[in-house]
């Protein structure tokens, strides 16, 4: 049995053991035949899981970082031993997996210390802004939300230039072209500069309750109109114990803006036109609002108070049958400890948009698409006192091997590299259960074909966190006479913000 087959087989039996399909004795016997010693079965990886789930330790044994990669880290890091690197990041699956599980491998190999501050997104922005304003270089690496690329593109190194400038520090087989091109365009490219490399990719996919769809005689919808018709039929038939759709529509919250863009783009609209004027209130924008208003009636009454947490819970608790939302929810739906619908939810690509604008028809680099993405990039700060050491860490954190480990250990988060989707360790986790990766083919197809990206402009934080979601919230609270009145108000305010 070669190493790859052994790992796949091991991941398989670990999954079966965790699901209770095989007993402990059988698991130990098989694991032993695969070369896992009894010592491997003592403590497991996650803090609470260690003692409770010995199987998880076995999975980790099989999911060690590549020795080749660690050797490169050790060799390249020799001049930097003793250096401390700092990163401020949002609580995302990659950052959490690195911080809690993978960092020790890097630190041991490199002799460096990595301090990762996990903060709410607003605080990350605040810290980066202070760092940039002061030129202090407090943080060696910047976590950059896709909407901040325009604000920080001058403050970080372009990784392509780093590879060329320091060939001795370039990781062999790092393969910067392996990052999915759509993500490079949508997340980290600003005016032909790379603002770091794509680091994580939450993206809208469709998730639906197959049991309910089967019962209703439905197939996954091909169009947005069909999506609405099915949602309405489910609510009419099964409400109020089951609703056809759900949402993240809390007034004044960024999540409401995310939902809006999916419907707007899906109806052939865009936030800005090529003249950089707000166009969410044009004919397509109004059609999208009309659609959304109807769809809202098929959702649980709480949606106008929910962000992504409430939306995800509505599926996990068996209250809603479908959602077009963040694909990174999916592994939690499959987790029997966290969800009432484990194994019942299926992922598919979002329904086809009614119409779609081209990038050229929009402004500020906006990319229309029903698969709204909220990704981020990782970059080395221009103000870092240890840019070379930080560059080594960055390459390690974003290389294919580490991404495969993040995806597998970090709970099924979507990789940003093409090759990782085909990694046998990732494929082996494509089964029902916690941390599943069985949605990742849909995630990849969505990135490649359906992805929508918000515009890049420094005022976007204000527009997406306040101007748009506050007025949309007022609309859904009945404070406007019509959708047109609401959108015209947003247009006026948005143009005022953009024009300073």
């Amino acid at each position: 049995m070669n190493d790859r087959t052994r790992k796949e087989y091991l991941a398989g039996i670990v999954g079966r053991y965790v699901r209770g399909e095989i007993g402990r004795r059988s698991f130990l016997r098989t694991a032993g035949r695969l070369g896992l010693g009894a010592g491997a079965l003592g403590l497991a990886g996650r803090p609470l899981g260690r003692a409770l789930f010995p199987a998880a330790r076995a999975a980790e044994e099989a999911l060690q970082p590549s020795a080749e990669v660690l050797k490169w880290v050790a060799d390249a890091s020799k001049p930097f031993a003793g250096t401390t690197l700092r990163l401020a990041t949002e609580s995302t699956p990659p950052s959490n997996a690195i911080n809690s599980q993978l960092k020790p491998f890097f630190e041991k190999a490199s002799g460096m210390t990595v301090e990762i501050e996990v903060l709410p997104l607003e605080q990350v922005l605040q810290k980066l802004t202070l760092d940039v304003a002061s030129n202090l270089g407090t943080y060696d690496l910047y976590y950059i939300d896709q909407s901040w690329a325009a604000s920080f593109y001058r403050d970080v190194f372009d990784p392509r230039e780093q590879i060329q400038a320091k060939p001795d520090l370039a990781m062999p087989n790092y393969d910067i072209d392996d990052f999915l091109p759509a993500l490079v365009d949508g997340i980290c490219k600003y005016e032909d500069r790379w603002v770091g490399v794509p680091y994580d990719i939450p993206i809208f996919i469709m998730m639906y309750r197959k049991d309910i769809y089967d019962k209703m005689g439905f197939k996954p919808p091909a169009t947005l109109d069909e999506y609405y018709t099915q949602a309405k039929a489910i609510t009419d038939e099964m409400g109020p114990s089951m609703y056809g759709a759900t949402g993240q529509m809390k007034s004044g919250h960024y999540s409401l803006e995310c939902d809006w863009t999916a419907w707007l783009w899906g109806h052939g609209g865009s936030i800005f036109n090529a003249d950089r004027k707000f166009t969410g209130n044009d004919e397509q924008g109004l059609a999208a609002m009309d659609y959304w208003s109807k769809l809202w009636k098929t959702m649980p009454p709480g949606v106008t108070g929910w962000t992504w947490d409430g939306e995800g819970q509505s599926i996990a608790q068996g209250v809603a049958a479908t959602m077009m939302s963040w694909g990174e929810f999916f592994p939690s739906f499959d987790d029997p400890d966290a969800s009432k619908v484990s194994g019942l939810v299926e992922p598919v690509r979002c329904p086809k948009p009614t119409a779609l604008r081209t990038v050229e028809q929009t402004g500020f680099g906006e990319i229309p698409g029903v698969g709204h993405q909220g990704g981020s990039s990782l970059a080395v700060s221009q103000y870092s006192k240890n840019p070379d050491a930080a560059w080594i860490f960055m390459q390690w954190a974003t290389c294919a091997d580490t991404q495969a480990l993040i995806t597998t250990l970090g709970g099924g988060t979507g990789p940003t590299r093409s090759s990782v989707y085909d990694d046998p360790r990732v494929k082996a986790n494509a089964r029902v259960g916690a941390g599943t990766t069985r949605h990742l083919d849909v995630v990849r197809a969505t990135i490649e074909h359906d992805m929508g990206s918000e515009p890049d402009l420094p005022q976007w934080a204000e527009l997406s966190n306040d101007t748009i979601p506050v007025q949309l919230g007022r609309y859904f609270a009945g404070e406007y006479g019509s959708a047109k009145e609401a959108l015209d108000d947003i247009a006026e305010k948005a143009d005022a913000v953009v024009n300073g």
Partner: protein, 309 residues
């Protein structure tokens, strides 16, 4: 000669009053106050003056620096409709929450002002809500008021007080009440404890006289308890009022200021401008504006209520 002993005595007295320890342990107040003064300077006075400095500047993202804007932030303040809306929300929140907490706090304090068995335990239990971080309380009420999963919504629906499709926190006419409820739940016990302490310290003689004169319980309360508790109530109102004016946690966690701007408080607005939009100058200006309002109102109240420290 006559003066010599006196001088000597004074010298002796001086030597007794200021022994050798004078070098190590000073009687002068300055060294003792210095650490506190330094802490105040570092964490109160400096930020205040820095805020004033910031209010005449604004962060320019393109220049990566603060730039002088003169009085622009202050003039903008008075033309900013959102700011006045959020001030209005804050004042309504302040008045409603304070009135309920004072009335309810006094009522509970009067009920608990007895040495019945178990009352000591009840008084102890009252402190429990105070140790919960307000953000956690906000999360609790967010869940309890959820129309789908919330127990509070369920009970209200059960009694026909809430429509099954009405989300409390997403309905403009109910959202602020939903947030006030969390505040009242958490902070009424604080008022109870202060009022209880005041009630326990009241003299018994006036009550005995009132009883002999045949005063009703209401008359006893309005003509004896309330006047005698005046100072205690004033202090409680002052402390709680200042806190209520700064409301942030509950609003941030429960409604994000929504629906629309129905629960947008002044503190949330200042925070948003400063941290979400990186408008440090304007955020500082809003904070200073808020501080001025609190200082004026608090001092006016101290003057009118004749509170003496």
């Amino acid at each position: 000669m006559s003066g010599a002993p006196a001088v000597a005595g004074r010298q002796d007295e001086g030597a007794f009053a200021r022994p050798a320890r004078g070098r190590a342990v000073s009687d002068h107040p300055l060294p003792w106050l210095l650490p506190l003064v330094l802490i105040l300077l570092a964490f109160t006075v400096y930020p205040l003056f820095y805020n004033i400095y910031l209010s005449f500047h604004e962060y320019a993202p393109f220049k990566r620096a603060l730039v002088w804007v003169g009085t622009e932030n202050w003039t903008r303040l008075f033309a900013d409709g959102r700011l006045w809306d959020s001030l209005g929300v804050t004042l309504v929140y302040f008045v409603v929450a304070l009135a309920i907490e004072v009335a309810l706090g006094m009522a509970i304090a009067l009920l608990l002002d007895a040495d019945e068995p178990g009352f000591g335990f009840l008084r102890g239990v009252l402190t429990l809500t105070l140790v919960i971080p307000p953000a956690i309380t906000g999360m609790m009420f967010l869940l309890m008021e959820d129309p789908q999963f919330g127990i509070l919504s369920y009970v209200l629906k059960l009694f026909g007080l809430l429509d099954s499709t009405t989300p409390i926190l997403a309905t403009p006419s109910l959202a602020l009440a939903g947030v006030v409820l969390a505040d009242v739940w958490q902070w009424t016990p604080f008022m109870v404890l202060i009022f209880l302490a005041g009630l326990r310290a009241l003299p018994v003689e006036p009550y005995e006289a009132a009883m002999i004169d045949g005063a009703s319980p209401l008359q006893t309360f309005t003509r004896l308890t309330l006047p005698m508790m005046g100072k205690v109530i004033a202090v409680a109102v002052l402390i709680r009022g200042i806190d209520l004016f700064r409301v942030f946690d509950y609003v941030y966690v429960m409604t994000s200021g929504g629906p629309g701007t129905a629960t947008y408080s002044l503190s949330l607005y200042a925070w948003q401008q400063t941290f979400s939009f990186v408008k440090w100058g304007y955020g500082a200006t809003i904070s200073l504006f808020s501080l001025v309002i609190v200082l004026v109102v608090a001092n006016l109240f101290i003057y009118l209520a004749k509170v003496r420290w």
